[in-house]
Amino acid sequence: MNALHGAVPIAWYLILSALLFSLGVVGFLIKRNLITVFMSIELMLNGVNLSFVAFAHQWHQAKGQIFVFFVMMVAAAEAAVGLAIIIAVFRARATLAVDRIDLMKL
């Protein structure tokens, strides 16, 4: 790798993105608070966005960046609706612990 010339291999960006996605999945599994579980989902979205931008740079396409733009918009909508649902759940059950929000569990 000609790393010392100052250019960063695209593969490193992709590995960072995979790492962020995996950390998001781990957070989704181990966190016990509804809000932090939701934050882990945002972390996964960010990891995927990074790989979109890296590939857009690789092939000199603007479309990859536009895809990230749409993901951001959908994430904003999702955050608004998700947090409203969290507020409604908190009103109904007075807890944020996912272990105690088990009405739909078999």
Partner: protein, 169 residues
């Protein structure tokens, strides 16, 4: 120069993500997520995505995380108690995550023809981006605006007082 910037901000990014997992208080997790998003904006700049870097700061680190911290404070969310999680998460989840990470890393490392990024070469200007967005992709853009409008209405309807017993009233 670029390599040093990448290494610094990639390290900050991963450290913030790990810190998100380790903190028990939601507000600390939210703050470390802001760190992750801001350092990702710097990485977008290194990849020549100047508009997305600005949008990342404004939309993610600004709007979405303000919403998160606001909800954490509104609900007065306390420290979470650590449980071991479900059995499925322990038996299937963590090995699956490790396998996913390993497969992704192997595929990425073995892939030939991935180039290098250099800051001067591939800058996508905002003009280029908006030309594409407002000529070829105008319909998806407008559909997304309808989606955001519906999301706003849904959020208001869900979070309204007394929505538990019939939101239609």
């Amino acid at each position: 120069m670029e390599l040093i910037l990448f290494l610094i901000f990639a390290a900050i990014c991963v450290a913030g993500a790990v810190n998100l997992l380790l903190q028990t208080h939601p507000i600390n997790s939210a703050l470390s997520l802001i760190v992750v998003m801001t350092s990702l904006a710097v990485l977008y700049l290194l990849l020549g995505a100047e508009f997305l870097a600005a949008a990342q700061i404004i939309v993610y680190a600004g709007a979405i995380m303000v919403l998160f911290t606001f909800v954490v404070m509104l609900l007065n969310a306390g420290r979470e108690e650590r449980t071991l999680g479900s059995k499925a998460a322990r038996i299937v989840g963590f090995p699956a995550v490790a396998a996913l990470m390993a497969v992704l890393a192997t595929v990425i490392i073995r892939t030939q023809g991935l180039g290098v990024s250099s800051m001067g070469s591939g800058v996508t200007s905002t003009t280029e981006l908006s030309t594409e967005l407002f000529t070829k992709l105008l319909l998806p853009f407008e559909v997304t605006s309808v989606l955001v409008l519906i999301a706003v209405l849904g959020a208001v309807a869900l979070a309204r007082h007394g929505s538990g017993e019939g939101a239609g009233k």
